[in-house]
Amino acid sequence: MAIDQKTQDDQFAAKKAADDASFLQRRSQEDAKFQADKAQSEKVFTDRKAEEAGAPARQAQQDAANRGIVGGVLGAVGVVAGIGLMNKLEGVIPMATLSGAQNGNVIQGVAQQNGFNVASMAAGVSTGLQNTMNTAMNFLTPPKQNGP
């Protein structure tokens, strides 16, 4: 009787081990499928965001093509000169050095030679301290340079 009970226990343990192994294998497969589906969903989402982000540039190219610029090569539009340009430039605020000397004098120099005014720091303060501080910092803090 004792031997039969032991046999039954052994059989039960073996069956349980087999069931556990089967369960773990099934769960592992389901996890893998879930991860694959998730990766696919994320890729679809990322692709869609990339598509949306690229839309303005494509629209600009299409607009340029519609204006008769062959092949959608973007080009200059709306040339202004004379008093119209002076009015547009009046009160310009220097924001950043893009290339060359970091003295903040390029726009100021062009303004002095051509007769329009550059907004002073005092004028900038009235429009927003944070912007003025950042504008000033842009010239005071040397930006990182591209290349050696």
Binding site: A76, K88, M95, S99, V106, N146
Partner: protein, 92 residues
């Protein structure tokens, strides 16, 4: 070539140089991840100039929300003139 970026009273952006640009600018590309701008010329032999300096956060924010830039071509011996060029955002 010393080049600066400015903000106009109407909220637009302007790129100004203290000498004439070497060629007419066709468009300006802005590389968001590097915060660098590139002037792209209408000349096959001289395609463009990559600007040397990264933009600050505030300047970058203005550039990222602007569809175009007013380019002002300045030379001491002739009249100032400007033209709008598209500002192309590159990267995410």
């Amino acid at each position: 070539m010393n080049v600066e970026l400015g903000k106009l009273a109407d909220g637009g952006l302007v790129v100004m140089c203290d000498a004439p640009f070497p060629h007419e600018i066709r468009r300006i590309e802005y590389y968001r991840d590097q915060r660098l701008m590139m002037l792209v010329y209408a000349d096959n032999d001289h395609e463009g100039d990559l600007m040397h300096y990264e933009l600050s956060g505030v300047a970058a924010q203005s550039v990222e929300t602007s569809p175009s830039v007013l380019v002002v071509d300045h030379a001491p011996d002739r009249k100032l003139y400007g033209y709008d060029v598209p500002l192309i955002q590159v990267g995410f």
